[in-house]
Symmetry: D2
Subunit: 342 residues, 4 copies
């Protein structure tokens, strides 16, 4: 049994981590910190955890996180980068679900996140935790930069094509739709029920923080810079991301076979049969990415459909997948949940 701590357990990625870790066979939850809720039983804030999690939120100072084997940061951006060094020095592995360690280009990070980075050297050693592309590096890392939700769905959908060099990577288009939980558990008017329900809109078309993250990942796979138009939308559901990806074909191939081969051994990527339309509920609360490949009217444009649960494969589930790799557990330990349908 390893000892795990969570910093910032009051948000949606926090409660999803708790849901998964509470039943993980190899993990003992040691501490969950929240400055604001210190002293309150976790299950009082989240009654769904009654009978499953008996911990109270603790103040960061009292949490003894340095005695943990692994600490998850389910915090707003800029928190993890300030606390990581002390933990790493104490031999604690870090899985950061925020964006602090995702972008290798510090200047780029600072431009998008509007802050001075506190630990550029740790960024340099951090491993981007998309196991399907970085599995071996993850196993040996000290700090995992857990990918964003849009980047997970988008990269997994584009990767086989980019790696195979069969599409025009200067003009990729990702039209992505997210459930509202992706905006977090914070009191903003625009994500109130009465604003977001029975409504649909794009946002951040001029620029979204996941744009540089996706470009960085695809550029690595391509071996060169890529061009990307990324349009996120808010859709009235709680969980789920649906990325609709468009790419112009530059070289003919059996695209279905390409995807099947690329993800042959992957337990959390499901390449669906030709003609499929994966829906987000088919991955609700499951650590799975389902992908379908289309070539409408036999034209020169490929359409890739890629769905995940933004809180599971797009956040907490992937974080546990990374933890499993870090500690030599079965990669699927604790991640066997079947999607909840309907």
């Amino acid at each position: 049994m390893i000892k795990a701590g969570i910093v910032g357990g009051t948000g949606y990625t926090g409660v999803e981590l708790l849901r998964i870790l509470a039943r993980h066979p190899g993990v003992s939850l040691q501490a969950i910190t929240s400055r604001k809720e210190a002293g309150m039983p976790v299950a009082e804030l989240f009654p769904s955890l009654r009978g499953h999690v008996s911990l109270k939120f603790s103040a960061p100072a009292d949490a003894c996180l340095d005695k943990c084997d692994v600490v998850f940061f389910a915090t707003p951006n800029t928190v993890a980068m300030g606390q990581a060094r002390e933990l790493v020095d104490a031999g604690v592995k870090i899985v950061d679900l925020s964006a602090d360690f995702r972008i290798q280009d510090i200047a780029e990070w600072e431009r998008w996140y509007k802050a001075k980075h506190a630990a550029p050297d740790l960024v340099a050693e951090a491993v981007y935790g998309l196991p399907e592309i970085n599995r071996e590096a993850v196993r040996k890392a000290r700090i995992i930069a857990n990918p964003g939700c849009y980047p997970t769905a988008t990269q997994l959908g584009f990767l086989p094509l980019v790696e195979a060099g069969v599409i025009d990577t200067d003009h990729l288009i990702a039209d992505a739709k997210s459930g509202v939980s992706g905006a977090g558990r914070k009191a903003d008017v625009n994500i109130l029920f009465s604003e977001a329900a029975d409504n649909f809109s794009a946002y951040g078309v001029s620029g979204h923080r996941h744009w540089p993250e996706i470009r960085q990942g695809l550029a690595r796979a391509a071996g060169r810079s890529v061009g990307l138009t990324f349009v996120p939308h808010l859709t009235p559901m709680i969980r789920g991301i649906h990325a609709t990806l468009y790419a112009r074909i530059t070289r003919e191939a059996d695209f279905q076979a390409l995807f099947e081969a690329r993800y042959a051994g992957e337990r959390f990527v499901d390449v669906m049969p030709p003609g499929s339309h994966p829906d987000t509920r088919s991955v609700r609360a499951a650590n799975t990415c389902r992908i379908a490949i289309h070539r409408p009217q036999g034209g020169d444009t490929l359409v890739i459909l890629s769905v995940i649960d933004n809180l599971t494969k797009g956040a907490a589930g992937q974080a546990v997948q990374n933890m499993n790799l870090l500690f030599g557990f079965d990669e699927a330990a604790g991640l066997g949940d079947i999607a909840v349908v309907p």
Copy 2:
């Protein structure tokens, strides 16, 4: 490992059974029948099961259900009563999720279900599968009449009061609200998204089939006939039942303590602290009933709030709980899922 079969696996209770049984440590799924979908892989109809269920739907004639240890009927009413005898005679245990064996008074059943009952003698021996009241009888039964969703939430909410004889049982009121999945996976206009979303209404106020079932259960507990006004409502959510129960106090008691004592050993009934308002999502996809007791303004009327997931504790989860009892498994085997929040 026991062998399990499911008759009628294309509805919501069917897919929920599959979600639970596919991960149950003591169960091997043998057959899932569907006349209409025979030959189709189950995971083609429900892609959420891809990678978890490899069975195909089989025609009833080909399913060899009599080789199973247990058969679940997730069928429309009137199917199970026609097939039960042959299976029982072959030594197969039956858990019927439909209403065929729920009402002991055959005439009453026939009045509400508008059909001639095919197996009155099996009704007589069937055990009403609400483990919290019938646990020992369930263990020894051959046929389990798995309770309806409204009856589960309503009976668990009223039982401690009725058993203790502290309320006026001639004038019970149950104002119940159900998610739309309670109406089943059938093509009716009134449960279309565009009809049921962003909308709320009562239905069946003049009479609903769960009314006699609730009255039967409460009458057993009271030792006499009870009076009940039962008003079901459709609320725009997928899963969940919220029963708001009203009862006039006839004898003073510590009602909170009464509930806590009654359900002290129960693993699937959670009596919440005074002042609580359980929400349905706190039991989403979990086999739990959460209950809170209120006495507004210290008056003579008690308000009991009782929530379940209609497909889990209100159907498939409870069915598996009964199966666990039937076969000597840990009562909670396969039922450890934590509610999915948000």
Copy 3:
């Protein structure tokens, strides 16, 4: 054309008032105040008003509200009571959509609203603006206390029975369900989409501010104090209130006929045929209350179903109805919208 001003136009009752008043044939919108948004075009905050409302929000000091014929307060509680006197003295009629003038018993008001009342004498002269019971008083009033949403649906549902003296008014039960917009356009975590969607719960069972308001109204109709158990619930829809009302019969009557006679001349109360189940969408964005009367199984308990749109008949529509009476317009002027279905 009368001149109308709105204080506090950034909430849901504010935008609903604007939707209605912008097309009212006898009203010219003069000013909409918002301390926070002063200077911003109203249609920038609410793009639905583009092309219909050209005003900007103005600071209260610049709004010249005393030049208006009528001023609507769509403000949080305790604002209107501080500004009313100056306007009334200037000859401006006031329609207050908040709760400041609703409760005649000042001590009771102060207990529930946890504030010292600033203008008890104005409360004394204020008229409770439920036209179906106070029409003549409304016409002559200077200050209208526009009723709350729950109180509108609940009182209209109980009134014919209470006035006729045919039910036990010591034990009324109102089980009410509200769409989330009833909680206002404010950044609270519990009304976020990801909290309130696909979820159902009661709240405020121990006490809700609309309880004394409903009791006051029913007591007036009964000529004596009444007993009421009132349980509000949050249901995952934007607009709409569904009140399910329970009353014990004390004297036999033709209850359907009673309601039809009581509301015979009312243009905004629709008594539906026997056996009906009004749904909230049938009044979405319409100034209508639809009511159905049930007597399940011919017992001694009546069940009344009463639905309104909480923002229209439950707030802004009723406010305009009151304004029409105040200024001698046709009572239905500007209120002809047909409910939006689906």
Copy 4:
């Protein structure tokens, strides 16, 4: 007052037509036909119309449609083409909300709609009822082919660019999201609440009937054939279409100014300020198309956001707009409703 009839009034476009026409100052509703519901009061099927529509559904044979000035077909495809000639010969104007007269290439129509066309000559004379491009032709037409919902949002979004010849029309991409009412009021399992709620998916990626319709419209504007990748999605809301359109720039221009100039005189197309993200609720129940123009990161790809209410500007509202043109009414008569927000 002109006399209007509706064939097939039991669907969503039917009830939306009724909502609009019941309040239109120049229209008298004469007949609404439904083979199945003949004899039933329209307001019994749609209680939202109680007090506004007193007609009963009539059998087609009894409806005397040839006495009407205009007949709307709110029918499934292939109905209007069989009944149009008789009405046209009787001097009745036809507005067909189905697809029967939309596609000029009969072979193409027959391929997509899988039927033999019954009136190719009437197709030839029918006018495609998108007033923003065909206003003068509409005024003189006998038969209006009312556009589809996706085609309305998509064409209005692309038209200024295509007409100006500033984009690559060989590789247009339209990623469109529709509310569920777009699928009609028919009992299909896939549009049940419990299937479509809290869920998102694409459908018909390999080919959708609106694809040829959009291509036909854009080809007319371009003066040559165009290439289009069209991916429709189902999003869990009732009404609304959000089209996200992607086009590669081939010639520089002030794109914002281009749109503003193109739609300068249009009362139902609202070009929003730069940087806007129109949401579908801003046009809920209103006959408006709102459009925003983006050029992310100053690249070579334009992103156009175009929203409509699929039942209003995408169907019944546009039909009334066409009727207004046909009979010389103010083009906006009966279409002044402000969007219902929230």
